[in-house]
Amino acid sequence: MSRVLVAMSGGVDSSVTTALLLADGHEVVGATMKLWGGDSDSGCCSVSDVEDARRVAQQLGITHHVFNFGADFDAHVVEPYVQAHAQGRTPNPCVECNRHLKFDRFLRRALQLGFDAVATGHHAQVVRDGGGRYRLRRGADAAKDQSYVLHMLDQAALARTLLPVGAMTKADVRARAAALGLRTAAKPDSQDVCFITSTGGRAAFLGDRIPLRPAPVVDADSGQSLGTVPAVELVTVGQRRGLGDAGDARRRYVVAVDQAAPQVTVSSTPPTTTRLGVVDVTWTDQPIGEGTRVLVQCSAHGAPATATWDGGGVVFDEPHRVVAAGQSVVLYDGDDVLGGGMAA
């Protein structure tokens, strides 16, 4: 038995996480991070979510705390998100939240309070191998796997992290919550970025914080101008929606975004590449050697591609779609995360 602090978001996964740890005989305390004070659809920060978490904790008979990490969230997640867009990158704020909030600020506070470990409701698995090293493995439910957004966990963090629902399917998690009568059993999964509302979207959020500039859309195939996009800061390489209509019903992809001009270049040929540079790389264990064969995943639920690590990026076996700068690139060995970083 150990003392575990569960990060309770108010969702079904962390609710069941709490119940499972209690059933396993751990001493469990719950805590909800208050991260965002602005508008939110639901995400992980609204008052009603804190209330859900608190009620589940009460139902399970454990202590529940609220930690106000709003200033850290602004500094490490929101502001970098805004700046990344301003600089033409496509950030992944959930990854930064995991890196700086859940598995840094929250984990440090838990250790300070004398807890042995933290637990979250992520669908991924921490496995201890024969040599006593910790591995981060894909969740048992392939469709819900969240190992991608946890790639920054290192041995120190993995040694202090429990992810009990990672071994279950989402359907089993919901069934367990229902069997326990937890109020979160049928609560919808959180979607997208918690501080962006579905009504306003990214445009409204960013438009309040940085100037959004319209940009002409030019067809690389014909040289023809296809109109304009309202905000070049919101356009991502590889994107194929919201680019206006050339009148010929052909699907077009963004192949280049020139922030300085500003100009968006599109083509009917999807942009591909054979090498992807990866920066700010972290490893779950030792760094891998140059020439190591890896599986590469470039979006939360994208299919992994086979490639070779060249020390500063990956060389794909087959041409791969271009990955927007700022997106997380995660390297796997089978189902185990080796590490990851940001597309250069």
């Binding site: 208050k34 008052v47 804190v50 209330e51 609220v66």
Partner: protein
């Protein structure tokens, strides 16, 4: 054991308040606005209570408006008068947010006397730091939030200059959800709530008779015991504050103790986050608080400490141990052991 040291948040119900309330939650259930015997019993209790509260606030019974608590009393004062409004930057949110909602001015305490507004609101005692304020002379009407003052200060005397005075029952051993606004007869007050015209058209809604009776019992007990409580609790507070200042390296006391109410011990422990400290104190059985909690229950940096010029980081290292009429030596003993232990652990 538990040491309850959050009496500025709320106090335990006084036995005399509970005893006074019980008949009005059972046999004397009448609506005081009716005309029959059952109503008359409730009406009599209501008016008896009004006299007790009026005497304690230094006003006439007809100047007492019963409300659903301190927040409503503050809102009624700020929204109930025509013209411009202003307050200090250390007010409770019930005043601060009301003044802001009316587009009023918020100024430092030092400047409040110079503000030209039709209503100025200045709290008698700060709820976080316990600092007692001298009420200024102002051109227009003066409202004072005496919620944090009432347990310790003779409000009738200290707020004699005020045109309106707010109190809240649960801060001095009364029940939650009931308070009063004293409104001197020359003040033209508009109601917040439209309805049956109770409280001389100043606060519609059927009276919370049991709550009002309980508040009056707590008022009577508080006034009768106040001088003795200030002395007894003041000694406990001094032992607590002096003990912690001696035991915790770097600890700083907020405010000049000579200007504070007896029940307030507000300390800062640089390098320690209050949120973390409160969790450890909770585990050790010490109930304390820091700043004010927002809707989610998360701690917010205190606007009071910020207004006092205390840097944000230091404001987030504060803890308020507030004593009350029921605080004992044993409570202080537990805190004197638990707080230094917790701070040492967090600094290690």
């Amino acid at each position: 054991m538990t040491a309850y040291l959050d009496n500025a948040a709320t106090t335990p119900l006084r036995p005399e308040a509970l005893d006074a309330m019980l008949p009005f939650l059972t046999e004397h259930f009448g609506n005081p606005s009716g005309s029959h015997a059952v109503s008359r019993r409730a009406k009599q209790a209501l008016e008896d209570a009004r006299e007790v509260v009026a005497a304690a606030l230094g006003c006439t019974p007809s100047e007492v408006v019963f409300t659903g608590g301190g927040t409503e009393a503050d809102n009624l004062a700020v929204f109930g008068v025509d013209g411009t409004v202003a307050c200090t930057d250390t007010e409770h949110h019930a005043v601060l947010h009301s003044v802001q909602a009316r587009g009023g001015r918020v100024v430092p305490m030092a400047d409040i006397a110079e503000v030209d507004a039709d209503l100025v609101s200045v709290m008698l005692v700060n709820n976080e730091t316990g600092v007692i304020n001298d009420l200024p002379r102002v051109r227009g009407l003066l409202h004072t939030d005496a919620v944090a003052a009432f347990p310790w200060v003779d409000v009738a005397a200290a707020a004699a200059r005020a045109d309106m005075i707010s109190i809240s029952a649960h801060k001095f051993g009364g029940p939650k959800g009931v308070g009063a606004l004293a409104v001197r007869s020359h003040v033209k007050l508009k109601p917040l709530l439209q309805g049956g015209g109770q409280e001389a058209d100043r606060r519609s809604g059927t009276h919370n008779v049991a709550g009002i009776v309980g508040m009056a019992a707590a008022v009577a007990a508080t006034v009768a015991e106040r001088a003795a409580a200030v002395e007894r609790v003041g000694r406990l507070r001094d032992r607590l504050a002096d003990g912690l200042l001696a035991a915790v390296p770097g600890a700083v006391e907020t405010g000049d103790r000579a200007t504070k109410v007896a029940g307030n011990c507000h300390l800062r422990f640089p390098g320690v986050e209050s949120e973390t400290l409160l969790v450890l104190l909770d585990e050790a059985g010490v109930c304390a608080s820091a700043g004010s909690a927002c809707a989610s229950g998360a701690l917010e940096p205190s606007h009071v400490l910020t207004a006092m010029g205390i840097p944000r980081g230091e404001a987030l290292s504060s803890v308020r141990l507030s004593l009350g009429y029921a605080t004992t030596d044993a409570d202080v003993d537990l805190a004197l052991k638990a707080v230094p232990d917790a701070v040492a652990r967090l600094r290690s």
